[in-house]
Symmetry: C2
Subunit: 224 residues, 2 copies
Amino acid sequence: MPRIIIVEDDIYLREELIHTFQKAKYDAIGLSEFENVEDHLMKQKPDLVILDVNLPGKTGYELCKSLKVKSSFPILILTARDTLSDELTALGLGADDFLTKPCHPDRLLARTERLLQTYGKMRSILQIGAVSLDTDTYKLVFLDKVLILSETEGKIMKLLMEQFPSAVEKSELFRNVWGTEEFVDENILQVNMSRLRKNLSDFGMDGIIRNIRGKGYVLEVDGL
Amino acid sequence: MPRIIIVEDDIYLREELIHTFQKAKYDAIGLSEFENVEDHLMKQKPDLVILDVNLPGKTGYELCKSLKVKSSFPILILTARDTLSDELTALGLGADDFLTKPCHPDRLLARTERLLQTYGKMRSILQIGAVSLDTDTYKLVFLDKVLILSETEGKIMKLLMEQFPSAVEKSELFRNVWGTEEFVDENILQVNMSRLRKNLSDFGMDGIIRNIRGKGYVLEVDGL
DNA sequence: ATACCACTTACATCTCTTGTAAGGTTTCCT
DNA sequence: AGGAAACCTTACAAGAGATGTAAGTGGTAT
């Protein structure tokens, strides 16, 4: 049951949308908090997001832009602003579809369904900016180039991308990559970090893994 | 330069569309033959297809449906029929977007651009019905299950899917997998076919590779 | 019936990945 | 400045997985 998060401040419309999606067998959730929408959203791990444009605080456009940088779920913008320039802005910011209110439920459902289908094939793909990683095969794609990482390096990269822009603690790396919290030998992590960095560097992604002394590692994806 | 194929029987509109896309730095090609559109289209290896609905011969809907079974490029339906039911039909058949004529060039370009961006991540994916194969990593996906093939088996599978529904000759397999036309030892092909079939069978795709005595092999994807 | 083609299994080789070891470099604190 | 702790790098060897060879079985067409 795909999870759809609805970001809409009009309570009445929000409930209506939730109802529409729930009737169609979706796990529809409405957000009623408009502070830190971004964090709330990410925590819910949505399969798709419906976004209004006129929101208290950050606009839907700003939200869309920053969500698209670090997420890989589709975003559908639903708004009362119906000019071409609104549509172009939305699509330009990475929105996957743009519909205007009022919108027939069937149209909304059909568009939603189609997006979920398209993105279904990419369920295993993590995305940060122009970089994407297939977590099944550890295929890294960046600027039309492809690099296939080995299993260990891939797992490290996966963790770094999942937690971006936060840092990943060493203990967490040990737990997730080697299955043990007790990192008897720190060296093994360093060796693999070294290998991964070398590969990334040859690939054109120099210096994107930064060490945090005593803590762990972070991804540094400013330039990309 | 992404290649866009335009399937539209109205000459005037077709030229206008081609011009719009060419100005936007696309490799835009119009189809003027409406017999065997499907074969013509596939030969051009498009990155995206713009499809009219009212065509001589097969309708755009029929075309869309059969293209979607064997291809992996996005399809945008552009039509004068503007009812909700038309849109629902199109989306239901797998169309990636639905726009009505007359359509502002900027809107068309923005929608096209977005589709190309979304599908860009899947450039390396072959698709036949419910089966897909990533030709970089040889990740095979079928019914939410994932199987990662070894390089040799993956290359064989790739050829079979690329040429579907035609057969692949043994000489072609030797050329593409082992880099030599002269198949000194036929056994190596048989061994790898055997291994591939075993893996596919365990994966729930039993008997989909059929031998053609003296010729080669075909994919048999009726049931899937 | 027989010759040809296709299929299968076992085994050895090879490649790629991983962890270990050892030595070097950077950073931080006194 | 000096030393310790944390981090980085390179080389090497063991291990796992993939590939090709060999040899024998089974099926099909004439």
